[in-house]
Amino acid sequence: MGKIGKLNRSVSIIGVGCTPFMYTVDNEETNGLTEGELFGYAALKAMEDAGVSPQDVDFYFHGEASPLNGSNYLTPNIQIGNWFGMKGKGSIHHSEACCTGYLAIDQAVNAVASGKFDCVLTGCVEFGDSVPAPFGPNDTVETPKHPYKREKMTMDRFLATTMWLYDRCYARSMMAPMELIYDDAAEDYVRTRGITAQQMDDTLNWMAINNRRNAAKNPLAIERREFEDIAKEKGFPDVMSYMRSPYNPRMGDFLRMEGVERKCDGAAAAIVCATDMIPQIAKNLKHKPIEVLGIGNAACEATTPHFEIRATEEAVRQVYENTGVKPEELDIFFANDFIITSHLISAEIAGYLPWGEGWKYICEGRTAYDGDKPINTNGGRTSFGHAHAASGLADVYECCMQMRGECGERQVKKLPKTAMLRGYGGAQNIAAILLRTID
């Protein structure tokens, strides 16, 4: 299997920025926001947070999962660099669907560790809920677009474009590779851990409840109303009766509606700097840098059986071997959970939750922000929202803020020193990122 080497020099995240995750076209205040405005906001907030100016930043990485469909761009990085003072600076666009925001850190770290750049910006933007507005009927990606107006992306149109994530030659034709994304991990968990379908259902529901409890305390999250309150309002005796009701219909073999992402619009960014250059570049840094200890990588195309599980095992193995960090050192965990099952299985694979026991921790609420094993404290993809490429960097934003103790009401009990983020997406890329606070 794959192997990764040590970075040539220490690299740290010194600034982070994130927009609220939102349905931009649904609100007058946000309807008409553009790529440059969303990405630019996140980029400038990250620079402000790091205490650097665009002139200190050597290069920028731009991530967007679906630039042609969502923005009508082939080279989105070129179109918006001047929005945050980086006109003329080099940049590159990359696109790994829902894993984009995690590989955004990977690429930035590699670029700085190599010595080519001392300080780079890495950012992602996505309009997961809207598309550029057409000038007339029969609109396609080829027809001219309005300069700033957008319109709602229907679920049908979105699902039609998610087909682009799968190999045209075999995966689409064989059907099962595309359809297994929803329930393969849940089926595997039930079969290999020996729990019942009912226990799995409860676990999926508790993950949604815990995610929402976290999001309720996060002003950037898209869904902030706790299921407990919704259940009360609808007249249910307790939250689980509501989660098992037709209000939360089963949409997969195991998966229910509240276990699926809330696709939306948003952007996030980070400033990545050579650790030994921080005193020169970020003289005014007001918080501790967060070192990127290492990043494991794997990818399994969707015809591969149990693609998410196999690729996560490989990426996690690499990063532990590479860094010497032990699972018991992890203080907080993030998993891209656009299919909420991810959150359970990746935490077990990483050894953050004990194998076969993770579901109990979840059902006991121990993985919420106020538990002893916090996961996805921002609310995860089901409650924070999923602006596809941007979500990974939104997790990095939340993780760094937790490690700096700046999360206010949803600050975890023990200040995290070591964190893992498990990126996933794009049928299917995997990244396992280890972060540690520098004292």
Partner: protein, 135 residues
């Protein structure tokens, strides 16, 4: 010899004739199905055409549901998704016909269960699906 070759077209032409074509590694014997150029097991740059029997086993079972099905699939009757391993060794995700929820319950403790390949006509081409042997 590394060849610029229409592997995908030949695979689908094989399905039209009811043949399940894979590529076998001359170094380690690994079979790639569906077929690709190189060996993903040992890294050999070359593989050779091989006709697979279509016999294999199903190792996991996931039922289709609202999110994970399309109207067109109804033509397959009752079916499920899962990991299939051919007797030649290739493993991949596939459709297996002849499974409903009750059948799944019965099969779970018996996994892996024998299956065999057949073709399924889609819009403009035939693809490969599997069927439970006992049906």
């Amino acid at each position: 010899m590394i060849k610029l070759e229409k592997v995908v077209q030949r695979f689908y032409e094989g399905l039209e004739e009811g043949k399940f074509l894979g590529r076998k590694c001359p170094v380690c014997g690994n079979v790639e199905f569906p077929p690709v150029y190189a060996c993903n097991k040992c890294g050999s740059l070359e593989t050779e055409w091989v006709e697979c029997s279509g016999k294999g086993v199903m190792k996991s079972i996931v039922m289709p549901a609202a999110l994970s099905s399309k109207p067109e699939y109804a033509q397959m009757g009752q079916y499920a998704y899962g990991e299939v391993e051919l007797e030649e060794g290739a493993c991949f995700n596939a459709v297996v016909k002849g499974i409903n929820k009750r059948k799944r319950k019965e099969l779970m403790p018996k996994l892996p269960v024998p299956v065999h390949a057949e073709t399924f006509q889609r819009n403009g081409y035939k693809t490969v699906v599997f069927v439970l042997d006992e049906e």
